[in-house]
């Protein structure tokens, strides 16, 4: 699958720690229409591990995870697609 270059919205959560990283992402997803995409700039480590996982558990799709070299070491770009009707959350 090819990830779209431009997302409907973008947030930078590199300054935040858990649980704010996922809370900010979830709120940003709430503001989108179903099927729209959200670009998230985040740090390597715990955010990069937990935010995509939480998004998938909530029924959203992870379209891309890639480094952001222009933003320095440890910066990543996560592209999410807001879940559509029928995309059920994955309950742990």
């Amino acid at each position: 699958m090819t990830a779209p270059e431009r997302a409907a919205s973008r947030i930078d959560i590199r300054a935040f720690a858990c649980p704010m990283t996922w809370v900010k992402t979830r709120i940003a997803l709430e503001r989108l229409a179903e099927g729209e995409t959200l670009e998230v700039w985040l740090r390597a480590g715990e955010p990069l591990e937990s935010v995509p996982r939480s998004a998938e558990e909530d029924g959203h799709r992870v379209l891309a995870v890639e480094p952001l070299p222009a933003e320095g070491d440890g910066a990543y770009r996560l592209l999410l697609e807001k879940r559509r009707p029928g995309d059920a959350p994955v309950l742990p």
Partner: protein, 230 residues
């Protein structure tokens, strides 16, 4: 309107609850809740409403703190003999910088009500006032360390249709805090997710909660036209 970062941080865990979210939190922040009766029974409910981020609490109680009120979570021993409203405001203020707690203002127009009145007559009167005002409300009926809460969303069968017919319950015991917390949780649902909660009566017996939908009594006035939305 969107939540500021300090508010998101304050309610971060709550915002992750399935079915909750930013819009629900904003509804709570915009709410004005009249709390009728703030004795030991209401104490835990007040703490929960403040912690949940209800924007404005209006306390309606003319009495002073009695020694029996110390069984709740709110009043320190030094508050005995002082106004319940003043003592509750002092106790609740440190819990959140985002919630305003005041005495119920004459002519105030609440958007929801929590009734913890000390008598059946007061509970019925307060609940009926809320119904006529067209606002969602919850009535707490203590009975020993349990009791019941009756949730009345707009248009649902009224409290008089759903209240206990056995009269006043046993005097409340310290464990009644669980009932008050349940009452606060019901009211938060009614305010944060209107339309998602139907009228119901939740009995709490020995720590076990059992819910059943409320039904309108034949001939009750609440079957008539609904008042305009508050």
């Amino acid at each position: 309107m969107s939540l500021s970062d300090d508010r998101i941080a304050r309610w971060a865990r709550q915002l992750l609850v399935p079915g909750f979210g930013e819009e629900a939190q904003e509804r709570l922040l915009g709410a004005r809740v009249r709390v009728v009766g703030i004795d030991a029974v209401a104490s835990a409910a007040l703490v929960y409403l403040v912690q949940a981020g209800v924007g404005r609490l209006w306390l309606d109680d003319p009495e002073d703190v009695s020694p029996a009120d110390l069984a709740g979570w709110l009043f320190p021993p030094s508050a005995v003999g002082t106004s319940r409203v003043d003592a509750a405001r002092s106790a609740l203020a440190p819990l959140s910088a985002f919630v305003q707690v005041d005495r119920y203002p004459t002519g105030g127009v609440p958007t929801a009500a929590l009734v913890c009145a000390p008598s059946v007559v007061q509970a019925v009167t307060s609940a009926e006032a809320a119904r006529r005002a067209g606002i969602p409300h919850v009535v707490v009926e203590p009975d020993g360390d349990g009791g019941a809460v009756v949730s009345v969303p707009r248009g649902a069968p009224c409290y008089s249709c759903a209240r206990s017919t056995a009269g006043a319950g046993r005097p409340p015991e310290p464990g009644v805090a669980a009932l008050a917390a349940l009452g606060a949780a019901e009211l938060i649902h009614l305010m944060a997710q209107p339309g998602s909660v139907t009228g119901r009566r939740v009995e709490l017996v020995r720590g076990v909660a059992t819910a059943r939908p409320t039904a309108r009594l034949a001939g009750c006035a609440c079957a008539g036209a609904q008042p305009a939305e508050a």
